[in-house]
């Protein structure tokens, strides 16, 4: 099971901050996951914005990087504290 985390404004869009699920077999890369989730949440491209970074197991990854079925995958809109 993969653990998906949606931070900031993305949690409003997905209606949750975290979900645990089995990823479809045809999802191999971070880009595949963006496409699939964008459709699934009817996000009109919000999951595919370049300013939304993806972290897999606490490391920022590129869109071409692979995702595995037991990863913790975070969708991170622009960050900033203080």
């Amino acid at each position: 099971m993969a653990k998906l985390l949606y931070f900031g404004r993305l949690s409003d869009l997905t209606g949750t901050t975290v979900e645990v699920l089995d990823l479809p077999d045809d999802i191999r890369t971070a880009a595949d996951l963006r496409d699939w989730l964008d459709l699934r949440f009817e996000a009109s491209g919000a999951m595919k914005e370049p300013t939304v970074r993806i972290a897999i197991n606490n490391e920022i990854v590129f869109d071409a990087d692979p995702v595995a079925g037991d990863d913790e995958i975070a969708f991170m809109p622009p960050v900033g504290g203080g």
Partner: protein, 157 residues
Amino acid sequence: MITITDLPIHSGDLLRAFEAENAAAGAIVTFTGQVRPNSNSGAVSALFLQAYSPMTETGIERAIKTANAKWPLTGVKVVHRVGEMQPGDTIVFVAAASKHRRAAFEAADFLMDYLKTEAVFWKKETVADKATWIEPRAEDYQDARRWNMEQAQACQE
């Protein structure tokens, strides 16, 4: 060195402790960031801060490491609040100690720029019962670029 907490931050107590730890430093600069009662869209009733541990902590650790490489510091402290806050509450406390006052000023300033634009936090502001996620302003990114953050980011990779 780094504390992420959902409890109130008491800067006065933190400064007293930091001074005791850095009594031989000579120069100590602190920054306290508070929830402002007003934003561009009106009176703020609440601010919610979200972190993602351990990415938030490791990112701040790397920024402190960068600061230590750039300036001769004897001590650094970063305390950041998460969860629900009200206007006047302290969001962040940063302290830097050095033998040189310029180094202490610049390191605190640098760490704040990092926290504003690079640290892994998300902020939601409530104005008139309407909650909005706030992302860094152009001004924040501009401030951060003064330090050649690309280089700082490169160090993080």
